[in-house]
């Protein structure tokens, strides 16, 4: 097959491309330039879109002996990921930009262009399994598993995706990179959000959305217990940085329970008030291609690296409802609910939807 390897400049995508070459594919490496001004994105090892990352990707491609190009996806990325990220926070939701990037950039804009240019598939360094059976499963490395942020992909997208790393742990990937002479073998993992240069999400949002002071209200008493500079800066389940004027009457810590953009109110309360037993979601996507019939007994995960709980999921048109068998704390609108079918050969992703309540 002619395959396009998306190369971020990190160790995972470099080894993924190497494995694609070894599998006999005709591989072309592409680094996605996502920043309008590369200097403004994370520098060095922490990000994926700096000039240094571009150079690391190019050097990996050199070592593999494959052609290498840089594709400018900055405008698409800005519109579909960055602007969406800001808009979601402004609406009181908590988006996952990595998931959005997979959905709109890597497996849409990039995949479409690749297919049009004659490529059969896109290879990435995601830690997830996608075998000959076409099922998307968790990585063998549970700590590094990225099936959650891939669960938004449709059947058509998955049919043109190759994830060569799912059967390996991160440590094995690093070891392999070193033995292949890839200089990125010991490059630190990227984390946080690549387009927020200093890691200060609150500052990033404040710059774009401005300061909009409002009340912090205690759910149990209804009393105003503090002020905030912008409700968008809060995430459901958040405990730190609430800056409450007075302690709660029961003396126990307070958590963000909900954000109401309409009234610009952040509601806080005790930990147990965070507990949720039902989740509603919208825009379901099924990795199998079609909507499962009837209620689905499965496991659900409600945030990246979050807990997994058994649930019964029912689908009605464009909405999805999950009855959780165990309550979960800190479920935020805007995150994805991902349904898994437990399987000894690796839990299988059934589908996902965007949490509304």
């Amino acid at each position: 097959m002619r395959v396009l390897a998306a190369m971020s400049g990190g160790v995972d995508s470099a080894v993924a491309a190497a494995r694609a070459v070894e599998a006999g594919h005709d591989v072309t490496g592409v680094h996605l330039a996502l920043a309008r001004n590369p200097q403004t994105y994370r520098t060095g090892a922490r990000g994926c879109c700096t000039l240094e990352d571009s150079r690391d990707a190019r050097r990996a491609a050199d070592v593999l002996g494959i052609p290498f190009y840089v594709w400018d996806m900055a405008d698409r990325f800005h519109a579909d990921v960055v602007d969406d990220f800001v808009a979601e926070y402004a609406a009181g939701r908590t988006p996952n930009p990595c998931l959005r990037c997979n959905e709109k950039i890597k497996f849409a804009a990039v995949l479409d262009r690749a297919v049009a240019l004659g490529f059969d598939a896109v290879v990435t360094g995601h830690h997830a399994r996608l075998g000959p059976d076409g099922l998307l499963r968790r990585s063998v490395d549970e700590a590094k598993d990225q099936s959650y942020v891939l669960a938004v992909l449709t059947r058509q997208q998955l049919d043109r995706a190759i994830f060569p790393l799912g059967d390996s742990t991160k440590a094995q990937v690093r070891q392999e990179a070193a033995s292949r002479g890839l200089a990125v073998a010991d490059k630190p993992d990227s984390h946080d959000i690549c387009f927020i240069a200093d890691g200060d999400t609150r500052g990033f949002l404040a710059q774009r959305l401005g300061e909009t002071p409002g009340d912090v209200v205690d759910a149990t008493t209804g009393a105003v217990v503090g002020q905030h500079a912008g409700a968008y800066a809060y995430t459901v389940g958040q405990r730190r940085g609430l800056h409450l004027d007075r302690p709660a009457p029961d003396g126990r810590p307070r958590y963000v329970l909900s954000i109401t953009p309409k009234t610009n109110t952040v509601t806080v309360g005790p930990a147990e008030a965070l507990e949720v037993s039902e989740v509603n979601a919208t825009r379901p996507v099924w990795t199998g291609g079609s909507r499962p019939d009837g209620p689905i007994e499965c496991e659900v995960q409600l945030r990246a690296h979050g807990v997994v709980v058994p649930a019964a999921v029912t689908v009605d048109g464009d909405t999805l409802h999950a009855d959780l068998r165990r309550p979960v704390r800190g479920v935020a609108a805007g995150q994805a609910i991902v349904a898994y079918r437990p399987d000894p050969a690796g839990d299988v992703v059934l589908g996902s939807a965007t949490i509304t309540t």
Partner: protein
């Protein structure tokens, strides 16, 4: 393999490589006083005479540098500084809008860091700077202008500028005129003295010489403040140990290409005309950019409507055909060409452009290979550019 990117760099000539290796085997710093030093110095001075003779300059006017970018920076910044030092009213620099980044960015730097006032001289739809445009600029700002810079021939679209006429206009206002002749030397007749320019940039690797060596031809009565300070080599304008082997090789390349220019231009232009005719046949909607006749013999520059240049490049590259989208930034992301935009092209036309540049090793078979691969590549690139909605 069809190498259609000679304007980026062209293979070294055999005699250049031989001259380089022979000189590189000899020890000697051209500034040393002993026999080895004198020998190295002699090689350098003989080379200076050969370059001067080939370009219609005096030997003392040839300043060897580390290549085109350095020569352009030395001319733009050095002459600006010297001229403004001599007359503080002269704080303006004017440049054509289609310069290579080595000039463009040096001019912008003067604007940002030296409080220079910058004037951009407009070009017509073929990329030509008209003497009238320069006259209008100087009629308004002539007494305040420290330097005019305009390239001899454009690296992207190949348009040759009326350098003699432009230099004559600058001379009327007593303003030094620099020209970046990197693409012109060896391609079209270039005579420093006859052209009337004050400074001229030339580099080795565009004419069969090595990368990393070039010259600024600087008229004797034109002062330039140095960029590099040190041992005082090259009239104190360019310090640094002289690269005897590189300079010898550069001189051999300049001499050989200038001597063979007419014959070369006739052969390569015929090949280029054939390429243009067949590209137009294969892709009828193609837009041919630059001056139709007054252009570099090896340059063919097109816009392919509905395509993205970088997609076409990838597809042709996969077929073993090397060409260029124009200027690339350091991250390797293709920006829409400032040359095309200055010529009045819109963003789409600028992004859809490709340059094929022929040179001394070009063959009819290479043109055949391009024509064989191009229609399918254009077809695919067009589909890749068409907006598609996933799912």
């Amino acid at each position: 393999m069809a190498y259609l990117d000679h304007a980026a760099t062209t293979p070294m000539l055999d005699e250049v490589l031989e001259a380089y290796v022979a000189t590189a085997r000899e020890v000697g710093n051209a500034s040393s006083l002993h026999a080895s030093g004198r020998r190295a110095r002699r090689r350098v001075e003989e080379s200076r005479e050969r370059v001067a003779a080939a370009l219609g300059a005096r030997p003392s006017e040839v300043i060897f540098t580390g290549g085109g970018t350095e020569s352009d920076n030395l001319a733009v910044k050095g002459i600006f500084w010297a001229r403004r030092d001599a007359d503080p009213r002269r704080d303006r620099v004017a440049s054509s809008a289609v310069e290579h980044h080595a000039v463009l960015d040096a001019v912008e730097w003067l604007g940002r860091h030296e409080d220079a006032e910058v004037g951009w001289l407009p070009v017509d739809g073929t990329g030509r700077l008209h003497p009238d445009a320069l006259r209008a600029e100087l009629a308004e700002h002539g007494d305040r202008t420290a330097l005019i810079t305009a390239m001899w021939a454009n690296n992207e679209v190949g348009t040759v500028q009326p350098i003699g006429e432009l230099a004559a206009v600058a001379a009327e206002y007593d303003v030094p005129f620099h020209t970046d002749a990197i693409q012109a030397v060896g391609q079209v007749p270039v005579d420093f003295a006859a052209s009337g320019v004050a400074a001229l940039t030339v580099t080795g690797h565009k004419l069969g010489g090595p990368v990393g060596v070039g010259a600024l031809v600087l008229a004797r009565d034109v002062a330039a403040v140095p960029l590099l300070h040190g041992g005082g080599q090259e009239r104190d304008v360019r310090s640094g140990t002289l690269d005897a082997a590189g300079i010898v090789a550069f001189a051999v390349a300049v001499e050989a290409t200038v001597k063979g220019q007419q014959e070369y231009a006739a052969r390569v232009a015929a090949l280029r005309d054939d390429l243009v005719r067949r590209v137009r046949q294969a892709v009828p909607e193609v837009v041919f950019n630059g001056d139709p006749t007054d252009r570099l013999p090896g340059n063919a520059h097109f816009s392919f409507p509905g395509c993205e240049g970088d997609a076409l490049l990838l597809l042709l590259d996969a077929q073993g055909i090397a060409c260029s989208t124009g200027s690339a930034c350091s991250a390797g992301v293709a920006q829409p060409s400032h040359v095309l935009l200055a010529m009045g092209a819109d963003d789409d036309r600028a992004r859809s452009s490709l340059r094929f540049s022929l040179g001394h090793t070009s063959t009819a078979e290479e043109v055949d290979a391009l024509i064989a691969a191009l229609p399918a590549a254009v077809d695919r690139a067009r589909r890749a550019a068409a907006p598609r909605t996933p799912r």
